[in-house]
């Protein structure tokens, strides 16, 4: 029996088609995922992301613990509320999960991790925490609603109280404020402006309804996937996993090499991978002809030395914003500006760009 979020009844009320998503019964769409996608690019949409796991890390060694656990360095977070994205790696330098860390104070950080990896994440975090003076607490009583789109902030303002509105006024991306019932963060997974709001389960349905009344469109996991892919954001389990180096998954920017004495888990493995010079890299692919690039399809090209090279599409979709297909691929570093993808027994030409195709409603390549 799949788990349900506290918003399950609201989804059914809104006509959602529910699917099993890693043990959670979640909305895939409420009719048309393309319309939901456009709502987020052009106006405002909301997603129930309550299946994601909120984990609080408290204690005098909270900072030291996270400096060991995460490849990015929480020492960069100096202002209360500041957030950071990065990977939690294993000793071999593979990605156990990607997550967001919020700095609340020196003894208190909050992590938001993927739901699909919850069990292994918690096992790993607890195992590593054993040698530190910290308390690790999972908070299943919290729900989370992401409100995203060019009008998301304005519409959310109508459901916030005066104090909340004063606090969010002018806050930068990747920042959280807490007031009243809400933990409000300027994070997201769509490439648009907006918030992710963490709220107690008891208040989640009221918040959802208030956003509905403010004309924010409910959006399912289908639209969430096409939006994140257009934005060039990784999906754990497809674009990277424990077998993939963050250096091969466009996550090099999330690895804090300095200070060099910070011995985070996976550091020595990453250094070896770097030195080997054989790591693949992540690129974006664009197919302007008909057809849709899909996960698992083979990417081939001839390098400058005339050698045949091969890579793979890690996630692909039709881009509703662009009107053609785009994909994220992992390929040998020698790739140029064109390649071919094997689709349905035929090879089709694709353009190779940096991963990331749409930001704030606009094409970026």
């Amino acid at each position: 029996m799949a788990e349900q979020t506290v918003l399950f009844a609201k989804h059914i009320e809104a006509g959602a088609k529910m699917v099993d998503f890693h043990g959670w019964e979640m909305p895939i769409n409420y009719g048309s995922q393309i319309e939901e996608h456009h709502a987020v690019r052009q106006d405002a949409g909301m997603f129930d992301v309550s299946h994601m796991t909120v984990v609080d890390i408290k204690g005098v060694e909270a900072k030291a613990f996270l400096q060991k656990l995460l490849a990015n360095d929480v020492a960069k977070l100096k202002v209360a509320g500041k957030a950071m994205y990065g990977g939690m790696l294993n000793e071999e330098g593979g990605v156990i999960d990607d997550l967001i860390t919020y700095f609340l104070n020196d003894d208190y950080y909050r992590l938001v991790v993927n739901s699909a990896t919850r069990v292994k994440d918690m096992a790993w975090i607890n195992k590593q925490a054993a040698s530190f003076d910290v308390v690790v607490t999972e908070l299943p009583e919290l729900a989370m609603i992401a409100v995203q789109g060019p009008n998301a902030k304005a519409k959310a303002a109508s459901v916030f109280n005066a104090e909340q509105n004063a606090l969010v006024d002018g806050i930068k991306p990747f920042f959280a404020v807490e007031s009243g019932d809400f933990f409000i963060a300027t994070t997201g997974y769509t490439g648009e402006d907006g918030y992710e709001i963490i709220v107690h389960n008891d208040k989640a349905a009221d918040l959802w309804q208030a956003l509905l009344d403010a004309d924010v469109k409910p959006c399912g996991l289908g639209a969430r996937d096409t939006l994140r892919l257009e934005a060039g954001m990784n999906l754990y389990g497809l674009d990277m996993d424990e077998e993939v180096s963050p250096l091969a998954a466009n996550m090099a920017w999330t690895i804090a090499w300095e200070p060099s004495e910070r011995d985070f888990i996976g550091r020595s493995a990453l250094l070896e991978q770097k030195a080997s010079g054989t790591l693949p890299k992540q690129v974006g692919l664009i197919l302007e002809a008909k057809g849709v690039l899909r996960h698992g399809q083979k990417v081939v090209f001839t390098d400058s030395e005339g050698a045949q090279q091969e890579g793979v599409i890690t996630s692909g979709t039709f881009s509703p914003t662009l009107g053609h297909s785009v994909a994220i691929a992992r390929v040998p570093r020698s790739i140029g500006v064109v390649a071919q993808v094997e689709m349905r027994k035929k090879f089709v030409d694709v353009k190779v760009v940096k991963s990331g195709f749409v930001r704030n409603g606009k094409k970026t390549f």
């Binding site: 895939i28 769409n29 048309s32 995922q33 393309i34 289908g222 096409t226 008909k290 057809g291 849709v292 899909r294 979709t317 039709f318 349905r344």
Partner: protein, 129 residues
């Protein structure tokens, strides 16, 4: 619940067929099939004049979720394709049995239709899935 018009004939692979007279049949995919596939983004149709055997793959319906082969329910020659789908593939979602039709085929052997499922048998076949 999917809509399954009683006057049409069906293939277990989710195509429907409507008789237009003179041995010509309109073919599309069922409402149930479009629901499974989700938002349609491209429909790759055959060319007029192409000939197909019953059961041969004749078209591809590509949705946000997957690419799906469509099989010709009948043996014959394509006499018309739904050109509206070039710009509006979503017609397959919004009106699978009418505006979302795919192609018309002139059947070599119209009796092949008799071997197809009626609405009741098709409904039973989906319920088994």
């Amino acid at each position: 619940m999917s809509n399954i018009p009683a006057e049409l004939k069906y293939a277990s692979s989710h195509e429907w067929v409507r008789e237009e007279g003179n041995g010509i049949y309109t073919v599309g995919i069922t409402d149930h099939a479009q629901e499974l596939l989700g938002d349609m983004v491209f429909v790759d149709l055959p060319d007029v004049g192409d000939t197909f055997d019953a059961g041969e793959d004749v078209a591809v319906a590509e949705s946000v979720k997957a690419a799906s082969d469509i099989y010709s329910p009948l043996t014959g020659e394509i006499v018309e394709v739904n050109e509206e789908l070039e710009d509006s593939p979503e017609l397959v979602n919004s009106d699978a049995f009418n505006d979302g039709w795919l192609f018309k085929i002139k059947a070599d052997e119209p009796s092949e239709v008799d071997n197809m499922l009626d609405a009741e048998a098709y409904e039973a076949s989906i319920d088994e899935d």
